[in-house]
Every structure is written in structure tokens, then in C-alpha cells.
């Protein structure tokens, strides 16, 4: 079941929220131990699976990684911000521990008009996630009877008996659904608009967005660093308002994009990545060093302008622009 509407849920639509799903399942399985709602989201329990790593990247602006000062003052140019979120809870555990997970994926574009942010469009999708092979037939039938959209996680899930395997598979599947929601909104924006859109995260996941001149991705997490050796030292040495040389990020399944590191705030404490973001924009068809440098400076000015107001009290406020925090607050309110 998915809810995909302009801005608000209406009472006439079926309620597929977690509480509604709990009530529905409890009515179908009166003797079963259904979730109470007090359980924390699975996202807060699951550990990050991606190991930290450094990857060498092809520098396309300079001969070697170096520091560029963004001299021109910051200027607010982003017309909108895009972010997505997900939340999942175990709804029911089968006798062998196989979890049936309720997941919500959501994404929103918040458009800026007269310095205030308004929802342009948002997507909220509720689904049930379970490994069909491990769920008893009778239970699966009951899940189908609920009328809620079911996602079979067998593809992500091995046949491991540990309940966490099923749980992680559900989270991964939900993650893909969330990315799809984000991509749908980003794609729609890039097709219809020519104003810059700041996307929380990378833009290489969908080609039309990765090639659009109006999509700018801002990545806050740095489990993968696109620099090694002296280049890494150069990046860590960036000061506020400085960026790295532009490099190319490419992988087999993703569209290549141009990227660079930008320091939004001066380093504080011992974290070398404090205030550090990585920016992704469309890779030029023909690499012109000066042009790509000018583009990096221009976009950096836009992002630096978003450093105020600060995103406190969010713990990632050093890297998070306020528009993204606003998206998160909105999504928190509607999911």
C-alpha cells in the first residue's frame, strides 16, 4: 500500500500506518503476540554494514588534489531540498523467529519561497516485509488478507535461520524503496524544473538525475573517502570555505558524477571530517578544467549559503544544511 499524494493524507484513504497494521493483524491473529508499538525502529538497532574505506579517484580539475579557496561570497540559489527517510518495526515474529517487518519509506521536496520552505510534493509508502520462504503459509495468507502491500525479501535474504538476517534483509529492501521514492521525486524535478535542487545524498543512482544540471547532491557520511595518501591529507586540511579539486566518482552500477569536498565549518575537536561534505554534480561531457572548477566554485557558494541557519539540535548539524533538516522534520511529522 502506498500513499502518494500532494500534501496530506485524507481520512477516506486506508490507514496503513504501523498502528493500523498492528490493529489489523491483531484482529486476524487474535492469539498471536503482535508488536505493541513501544519497540524502537529497527534502523536504530541495525549496525552499519558498509566497512570504512578509502578509494582513489580520478582528479579532473588539477594534476593533483589541492585546496581551492571559494572567494566569492555565499549566495542562496537552491530552489528546493530533497530528502528521504525510512522507519521499520517488527510487527510479528513467526515461531522460528522469522520477522514480519512493517516499513515506511518517505521522501519530500521542500520548496523555498520567500525564505520559507513549503512542501512541493511528498511520498509516503507503508509496506510489510517478510521472507516468503520462511513464513508459514497460513500466516502469509493472513498477511495478504490484510490488504497491505507485501514485499518478499527472499532476494536480499539468504536462508540463514538467524532472525537478524531476515530483519537486515527487510531493512535493505526498505532502503531501496526509500531510494526509489527519492529518485522519483528528483527525476520529476529535473524533468520539470531548471532551478537547482539540493539532494541529501548522492545523485548517481539514477541517470537522468545524475546528468541533470539542476541536481546537486550533498553527502554527509564519509564511510567511503575518495582520496588516498597526500590527497587525503589535503582534504582533511581544508578550512572553512575551502574545497578540494574536482574528481570523478564512478562505479559499475552508477552514472559517473563530478565530485569535490567542501568544508562548511572550521574543524572543531579531533574529528577531521567535522563540517566536511562531499558534493556531487553532473559530470561534464567534455572535461574543461577551468569550467569544472568554476562550476565547483559556484555550487560551493550555494552550499555555503545554506550553512545558516544551523541545523541544531540535530547531531549532524556541522554537515547538514537547514533545508535538509526541515525535510527530515516534515517527514518525521507525516510518517
Amino acid at each position: 500500500m502506498s500513499a502518494n499524494q500532494p500534501s496530506s493524507l485524507t481520512a477516506t484513504q486506508a490507514d496503513a500506518s504501523f498502528r493500523a497494521a498492528v490493529r489489523l493483524l491483531a484482529s486476524l491473529m487474535p492469539d498471536a503476540a503482535i508488536a505493541t508499538g513501544a519497540e524502537p525502529p529497527l534502523e536504530s538497532l541495525a549496525q552499519a554494514t558498509e566497512p570504512p574505506r578509502t578509494v582513489g579517484a580520478i582528479i579532473i580539475e588539477d594534476a593533483a588534489m589541492r585546496v581551492h579557496r571559494v572567494f566569492e561570497p555565499p549566495v542562496a540559489q537552491f530552489a528546493a531540498f530533497l530528502d528521504g527517510t525510512q522507519a521499520s518495526r517488527t510487527l510479528y515474529s513467526c515461531d522460528d523467529g522469522t520477522p514480519i517487518v512493517h516499513g515506511t519509506a518517505a521522501a519530500v521536496i521542500r520548496e523555498r519561497r520567500n525564505k520559507r520552505l513549503y512542501t512541493r510534493r511528498h511520498i509516503v509508502e507503508h509496506r510489510l516485509y517478510a521472507n516468503r520462504r520462511r513464513v508459514p503459509k497460513g500466516v502469509w495468507t493472513l498477511l495478504v488478507e490484510t490488504g497491505l502491500e507485501l514485499r518478499d525479501t527472499a532476494e536480499e535474504d539468504g536462508d540463514g535461520p538467524h532472525p537478524f538476517v531476515g530483519r537486515d534483509a527487510a531493512i535493505h529492501r526498505l532502503q531501496r524503496d526509500r531510494e526509489n521514492a527519492e529518485h522519483a521525486l528528483a527525476k520529476e524535478w529535473c524533468q520539470r524544473e531548471d532551478q537547482p535542487l539540493l539532494i541529501d545524498g548522492g545523485i548517481s543512482g539514477i541517470e537522468s538525475v545524475a546528468r541533470s544540471s539542476c541536481a546537486v547532491g550533498v553527502i554527509k557520511s564519509h564511510r567511503t573517502l575518495y582520496a588516498e595518501g597526500d590527497a587525503l591529507i589535503t582534504i582533511f586540511a581544508l578550512r572553512r570555505g575551502e574545497r578540494s579539486s574536482v574528481f570523478r566518482v564512478a562505479s559499475e552500477r552508477r552514472t559517473p558524477v563530478a565530485s569535490w569536498y567542501l568544508r562548511l565549518r572550521d574543524r572543531a575537536g579531533t574529528d577531521p571530517m567535522w563540517g566536511l561534505v562531499r558534493v556531487e554534480v553532473a559530470h561534464p561531457d567534455r572535461v574543461d578544467e577551468r569550467a569544472i572548477g568554476a562550476r565547483a566554485d559556484e555550487v560551493s557558494r550555494w552550499i555555503l549559503a545554506e550553512a545558516t541557519p544551523v541545523s541544531l539540535p540535530d547531531g549532524r548539524w556541522d554537515k547538514m544544511v537547514y533545508g535538509v533538516r526541515d525535510c527530515e522534520e516534515f517527514l518525521r511529522a507525516v510518517i
Binding site: P6, R116, E306, T308, P309, V310, P313, Y322
Partner: protein, 660 residues
């Protein structure tokens, strides 16, 4: 994407807010919370209507509320975060590309729920700005605004957003008999209290239903020229005219006003700021004699003066001496007819003289010391209330028995001693009550306006006759049609039973110290703040039908302000007796001249001239000259006797030996 326009149940375009409730801030049957857009026209005092989402007993609940508190906050956890965000530079705020998410959250007190049963907590729903019809329902005005049977008296206009709704008080609850009385509080100097009373009197005169009978107002002008020019037009602007039109009240001065004022101690100059010759046409003197005053002796004599023994003697004089033929063996069976203070003084003198002569310590159970004391105190009254109380017993009074409908009677006591003010108030109110009880006053209802109530009916201090009267008026007046409109600066300092019995209460701009007193604890901090900053022409209204106070605007009264009137019609300068008599009599006959008055008065004593003048003013004869002359004792024509010339004595012959 199809855009839908929410028009609500009453067709108003677009909700302006949504009801919200949390566990920590839940809604109740008497209070709810809602948020609005940042640019919504909602403010403290705005009336809103909530449409619930779920039907109750098959009916979508509608809840009416008035905003009593407002909150605004952003997503900041602490102000320090904003400081950090701008590097401690306040000017940097304007450089921020995005304004923080911000909320306008309001708390509203429930005015009415439809349906009224079952009474439930306010449900979630959409919030709309109240329309004119909504305001009528919310304030239960729909119960008494019923076409020809309407008992609505406009008190002002409620304004919010695009709504411009007249607010009506229920005459049954303002003038009686269901409830009655009105009290107004506000700081001095903003012309709110007096202006509001003048406006409401205009409104009552325009809207008081004829089927409920006639109504008149009696105002005590206690300070300056406040109420001295109610019959003179004053300037009003276009905005005020609109308010008058909205409320259906004629924007003009009072058509029928009668002024009353005592004389100054000289006995012939009116003791009022409305003494300009051009305005004397409807100014009458107010003078009382011994009989009128003696009935209210306890107003003027404090408890130390009037003990039980003195009280007994005063009763004796009142019952057996005044206005009766009195004789006593002690006085040699001389016949007395005591009608004035002068007669009374003569009577006292004879009684005491007779007792001294005979060496008596007592007379008719009254000790000589008591008689001396009562004589001293009563004789003193005519001195303390000179101008009001006449030695000669002459009476010029209010037209008890012939009060006119929709007429304002103003008694100017502003320049009088406190004792004289008290005496006037006590006697006038008592007479009104007596006449209303007998239903022969001339009107069915009388509104008595008293300003500076914290002086006349204070919360503390000694029990006074005037306070007792005000309490009685507040508690029992409505059954008779005697209604108290009162005003004061500090409501907390007025006797609780007086303000507590006022069915309707108005509040102008308030002093913050006053608002800090316990009587205002039911008001929210925001309402208090609004009260402390109210503009001229704004009032907060409490009325039995309104479950919450309402803010209204009222127009400036279309009468001349006291200050303007005093400048335009300056007080007449004190003049000689002949000029004063001319000034008074000219109101009856403009053809009189100073020369005629001088010739007529001649060399007569002042007292006699004043008595004649008073009698003429009282009788208002067709032929003023003739009547005035008839009141003066004839003067004997002086003839110089002509002595007949005695015949000259014949001169003696020079040779007369007997000649000298």
C-alpha cells in the same frame, strides 16, 4: 493536481488553522489549541469556529472559541544554537537563506459547543475565522436578537480579519429584571470610562425596546466638566460614523438633557461649569430646605455625632416639630411652625433659653447637653452645604413624578463638599426608589451613573450611608427598575458586592498593578497584556450571556467633550446679585433687562430677592415680571412730610419794655 477549496460548513473560504492536542497539552471541554499560518489574522480576542472531523450523534460538532493565549516558537532547542548559527552577530540573521520553521500556536477558551450535549473535549478539526452569524451564535446572542422581539443593545463592534460584527447586550440582563447594572473599570485620562458610558446610554436610548417601557438616565457629574455638555454636538470621524451605522445608533448628542446644580455659598450663582449664559436654558438650581435634609441627617452626621440620644431628639424634631404646629408649656405655649433652618434655630434658642431660665437639666427626656449638641450639628449643616441647603426652606428639586422617557438628568456635584455630594446622592437615589416603588416616577427604568465608585463604595474603610445605599441599589435595584452604572479606576478597591452584582462589566485600558490583583486571576497573561495596552475606543466586555470576555470597539461619543465645552462655553464669572437674578430670569423671559431688575430689586435685602428669584424659577410663570414683583414685599412709599410754615412771629417794637 486538482486544487480543492475548503469552504467549511458555512461557506467561508479556507480554514485558518487546525486543532491540535498532545498528551502534555490536551484539549478539554472548555479549552483547545490550534495552529495557524504565520500570516493568519488571528490574535488575542479573535473568535473562531471549529468544525470537527467526526460526527457526534449524527451531527458534525461545531465549537466556538475565543483566543486567550498565543505561542510562537521555532525548531531551536536553545537560544544558544541561534547565537552559534550567526557567530554571535545579530546582523547575520538577515543573511540566512531560509527562515527557521516557526509555529503560531493559540489557546482558545470555548464559548459554545454545538450540539451542547454531550459536552465533550474539543475534537480535532479545522478552524475558521468566525463570521457575523458565528459571532451571534458563539455569544448566544441568537437567543435575544429575534426580530421585533429583540432585546439587543449594541455595545460595540467586534473586529477580526474581515469580520465586523456588532455585539449586543441583552436589555433584560442590562436594565433588568433578569440581571442588571453595569460597571466599567479603566485608567484615568484616556476618556474611556465616561465616553463608554455616554455611548452606551445613546445606544440604550436608541434600542431599548418600547414594550419594556420607558427609560431615563440620572448622572452625577463628580469631576470637572465631564458630563456638562451632553446636549452639544462633538466631532466624530468617518471611522466612528461607520461604527454608529453598524450599531444603528444616531451619531448625535442627547436630545433631552436636564442639568441641575446647587448654588454657590453666595446663594445666587450656580455652582457648575455649565453656567455660561448660552446654555442656561436647561439648567435648574438644586436647593433643599430643612424638611428635605432632616430626613437624611445621618448622611451628614457621623456616628460620633449621632448617638442614640441625639438620634432620638432628631427623630422627635422630625416627627413632632418640623412642618407642624408645635407648642409646649416650657415655651409658654407659644406656637411654632418650623419650616426652615432659620425657624429651627429660633426654636432651639427658645427651648434652651427656657431651660436655663428654669434651671432644667432636661426637657421631654432630652438632656440639655444633647439638645445643645444636636442644635450645633444641625445648624452646621446649612453652613457645610451652603448653596444646596437654604435657610429659608426654599426647595428646587428634580422633577420626581414627571421624569421623561429617553432623557438624561445630570446633577453637577463636582464643585461641592463631600458631605453635600453624599447628601445629594442619598436623597436623590432614595426618592427615585420611593417613586419607582410607587410607580409614579414618570418612567419605568432609571439608570443611575456614578463615577469614582472606589470613593463612594470602597472595599474597606468605615461603613457610610452612601455605601449602604449603593449596596442596596446593586442588590435590589433591578426589581424596581433602578439600575446602577458605575465607573472607577480600580475595581479591586470597590466593594465586592457592588461590582459582583453588576451583570455587565466593561474594562478599558487597565493599570498593570490592578491586573496583578486576585480579581483578575481568571484572565490569561495574554488577555491581561491586551488589557494593559488597549487603545482608546476599545473595551473588554463581560456579560451574562458571554461565557468569556469579548473585545469590542466603540465609537467616540457624538457629544462635546467636557474640556472642549469648557473652552467654548466658559464658566460665567461671578456677578453681583442683580446680574445673577437677571441671568436666571432671562431663561424664562429673554426680554428682561438689567435696568428693570435693578429698579425692581431696589434696596431690598439679598435674602428676599433670592427667595423671589427662586420662587419665580420654581413656578415658571407666564408673566415673569409680574410674578417676580409679586414675590417681593411692597415697599412703603416714602413721603417727606411737609410741615406747614408757622406764621412769623411779629417782631416786638423796639420800645417794648417787655420785649427780649
Amino acid at each position: 493536481m486538482t486544487e480543492t477549496i475548503d469552504v467549511g460548513l458555512t461557506g467561508v473560504v479556507g480554514p485558518l488553522g487546525r486543532v491540535v492536542a498532545t498528551e502534555r497539552k490536551p484539549n478539554t471541554p472548555h479549552e483547545f489549541h490550534f495552529w495557524t499560518a504565520l500570516d493568519s489574522p488571528v490574535g488575542i480576542g479573535t473568535i473562531v469556529r471549529v468544525e470537527g472531523d467526526q460526527p457526534v450523534n449524527g451531527q458534525i460538532p461545531e465549537i466556538y472559541g475565543i483566543v486567550v493565549e498565543g505561542f510562537s516558537y521555532t525548531d531551536l532547542a536553545t537560544p544558544l544554537h541561534d547565537v552559534l548559527g550567526h557567530d554571535g552577530t545579530p546582523g547575520g540573521a538577515s543573511l540566512a537563506a531560509t527562515h527557521r520553521a516557526e509555529i503560531r500556536l493559540y489557546t482558545a477558551a470555548v464559548l459554545r459547543q454545538m450540539p451542547e450535549e454531550p459536552l465533550q473535549p474539543v475534537p480535532m478539526g479545522r478552524v475558521y475565522l468566525a463570521t457575523n452569524d458565528d459571532v451571534a451564535v458563539a455569544l448566544r446572542m441568537d437567543g435575544y436578537l429575534r426580530g421585533e422581539d429583540s432585546t439587543g443593545i449594541p455595545v460595540g463592534v467586534y473586529r477580526a480579519g474581515g469580520t465586523d460584527a456588532p455585539i449586543y447586550l441583552d436589555a433584560d440582563f442590562l436594565i433588568g429584571p433578569e440581571a442588571a447594572h453595569l460597571n466599567i473599570t479603566g485608567v484615568s485620562g484616556l476618556a474611556t470610562k465616561t465616553s463608554a458610558i455616554e455611548w452606551i446610554l445613546s445606544s440604550i436610548f436608541a434600542h431599548f425596546p418600547e414594550k419594556k417601557g420607558s427609560v431615563a438616565a440620572l448622572c452625577f457629574n463628580v469631576k470637572g466638566p465631564d458630563l456638562c455638555f451632553l446636549d452639544q454636538p462633538g466631532p466624530i470621524d468617518e471611522a466612528d460614523k461607520t461604527l454608529y451605522e453598524k450599531c444603528g445608533v444616531p451619531a448625535g448628542p442627547f436630545e433631552h438633557v436636564q442639568y441641575f446644580a446647587p448654588y454657590k455659598p453666595d446663594g445666587f450663582s450656580l455652582n457648575t461649569l455649565r453656567s455660561n449664559e448660552q446654555l442656561l436654558g436647561n439648567v435648574s438650581s438644586l436647593t433643599w430646605g430643612l424638611r428635605e435634609v432632616l430626613q437624611y441627617a445621618e448622611v451628614l452626621l457621623n456616628k460620633d455625632d449621632v448617638d442614640a440620644k441625639a438620634d432620638a431628639l432628631i427623630d422627635f424634631i422630625r416627627e413632632r416639630v418640623v412642618d407642624r404646629d408645635f407648642s409646649d408649656a416650657l415655651l409658654g405655649n407659644k406656637s411654632y411652625r418650623v419650616r426652615s433652618f432659620a425657624d429651627l434655630e429660633e426654636w432651639f434658642k427658645d427651648v434652651l433659653s427656657a431651660m436655663e431660665t428654669r434651671g432644667n437639666e432636661g426637657w421631654r427626656t432630652h438632656h440639655v447637653a444633647t439638645i445643645r449638641k444636636v442644635r450645633n450639628r444641625l445648624s452646621n449643616i446649612s453652613t457645610r452645604c451652603a448653596g444646596l441647603v437654604t435657610d429659608d426652606g426654599g426647595v428646587s428639586d428634580l422633577p420626581f413624578g414627571s421624569f421623561q422617557d429617553r432623557t438624561v438628568y445630570v446633577i453637577d456635584v463636582a464643585s461641592l463638599e463631600e458631605a453635600a455630594q453624599d447628601l445629594i446622592f442619598a436623597r436623590v437615589v432614595t426618592k427615585l426608589r420611593e417613586h419607582l416603588e410607587k410607580r409614579d416616577l414618570g418612567v419605568n427604568h432609571v439608570i443611575v451613573f456614578v463615577d469614582e465608585l472606589n470613593k463612594y463604595a470602597p472595599n474597606d474603610g468605615p461603613e457610610t450611608y452612601v455605601r449602604k445605599m449603593l449596596l442596596d441599589l446593586a442588590e435590589r435595584g433591578r426589581y424596581l427598575g433602578l439600575v446602577l452604572f458605575s465607573a472607577q479606576q480600580f475595581r479591586s478597591q470597590v466593594h465586592r458586592r457592588v461590582v459582583g452584582n453588576s451583570g455587565t462589566a466593561l474594562y478599558g485600558r487597565m493599570d498593570p498593578d490592578e491586573l496583578a490583583t486576585p480579581g483578575y486571576s481568571v484572565l490569561s497573561p495574554a488577555v491581561k497584556t491586551k488589557l494593559a495596552t488597549l487603545e482608546k475606543g476599545q473595551l473588554m466586555v463581560r456579560h451574562p450571556h458571554f461565557t468569556q470576555p469579548i473585545f469590542v470597539r466603540f465609537p467616540r461619543p457624538a457629544v462635546m467633550r467636557g474640556r472642549d465645552g469648557a473652552e467654548r462655553y466658559p464658566q460665567a464669572v461671578d456677578v453681583e446679585l442683580d446680574a445673577a437674578v437677571l441671568r436666571s430670569l432671562r431663561t424664562l423671559d429673554p426680554s428682561l433687562t438689567l435696568g428693570w431688575v435693578r429698579d425692581t430689586i431696589g434696596i431690598r435685602e439679598d435674602e428676599e430677592v433670592i427667595r423671589a428669584r427662586n420662587a419665580t424659577l420654581r413656578e415658571r410663570p407666564a408673566d415673569v415680571k409680574k410674578f417676580f414683583q409679586s414675590q417681593l414685599r411692597p415697599v412703603a412709599v416714602t413721603h417727606t412730610p411737609v410741615r406747614p410754615m408757622a406764621p412769623a412771629i411779629r417782631s416786638a417794637p423796639t420800645d417794648d419794655p417787655y420785649g427780649f
